[in-house]
Symmetry: D2
Subunit: 109 residues, 4 copies
């Protein structure tokens, strides 16, 4: 069954202007190719379950997808902190720290 | 770019016969629908990155995919332990314990 | 301020008999020496905070205590699974699986 | 066996001056009382192991110590980010971001 792109949270900032990320093309293609691989692995896990593959083998693929996803998260966090977070703090907008802490607590759960 | 199903480890058991999981159809469709949602979210994250969506919003979707994936892992682990692991131990095959520990250590990393 | 041993859950099994672990003396002394080191590090962290040591340095000691504690947990889990869990399953008492899953879910949080 | 305070990393900043944290007395006493409780629990775990308490009960105390330790880490991280990190970025010293990322990666492991 084909899956449509999941409806995702709209990104309009509360104060009307829209915050944007500004990755280089190189970073974007790196992130996209990692996510393509993750997407393929998730599809692969579905196939394993449909074919009644032994659970331990499926669990091992799940843990490698978790690691790959952590890798994407860490890469994004680094770019975010070295660009938007520094810029907003230098502009005097320290609200970004609480925003970052909230997101990090979810990632560190 | 369409991603082919990731080449996955072959599942031939060391002693020649092939270990299989034996989920009910209900469990299988539950797992598949969760994985469909995860696949859609991963595709959605790609779209967010292509559209330069603010990193914090992307990181929040990543952490919800991590939770969903953890949920699938825990569900599989429970089924595995309540079926294959118990059966193999009752058959005197305690090697399954070391196999389980190795997999759990990866999941608990 | 000296801290008394934390009041810990009583271990009387619901069915009156008391479940016991049965580690070798070697395992017990290994676990105790790891826990002595962890106790020393926790005391050290208190000292760092009292002396206003830079937070990043304190956070690094906290993460090494977390790793040491994970190591103790994994060691205990292995011993538990290779002794009590196998024995209880071979005795036909499969309740141990749900008990183990509940504990693992807390450790994997 | 009494444990001495663990020898901890010296805190001389690379550029000769010594970085300090600057917690309020209220924060410091909160952190110290949490660490006292953790120290007591670690001592309690040693007692459980010496008395051959059932492993599952010990594992449950370990997971609550892990949560308590995570709580201390998150509290320190928040204070660090809302004070030192903001101040150093506003002073133009963006090296603090890489320092923070390195520490966070260890905590998120």
């Amino acid at each position: 069954m084909e899956t449509d792109e999941q409806a995702l949270p709209s990104v309009d900032g509360c104060c009307g202007d829209e915050r944007k990320s500004h990755h280089t093309e190189k970073t974007k293609s790196n992130l996209i190719s990692r996510l393509n691989r993750i997407e393929g692995q998730v599809r692969g896990i579905k196939g394993m379950i449909e074919k009644d593959v032994y659970c331990d083998d499926v669990l091992n693929v799940i843990s490698s997808v978790q690691s790959a996803l952590n890798g994407v998260g860490k890469m994004l966090l680094e770019h975010h902190m070295k660009s938007c977070v520094v810029e907003r703090i230098q502009d005097g907008d320290t609200e970004v720290i609480q925003e970052l802490l909230t997101t990090m607590n979810k990632l560190m759960k």
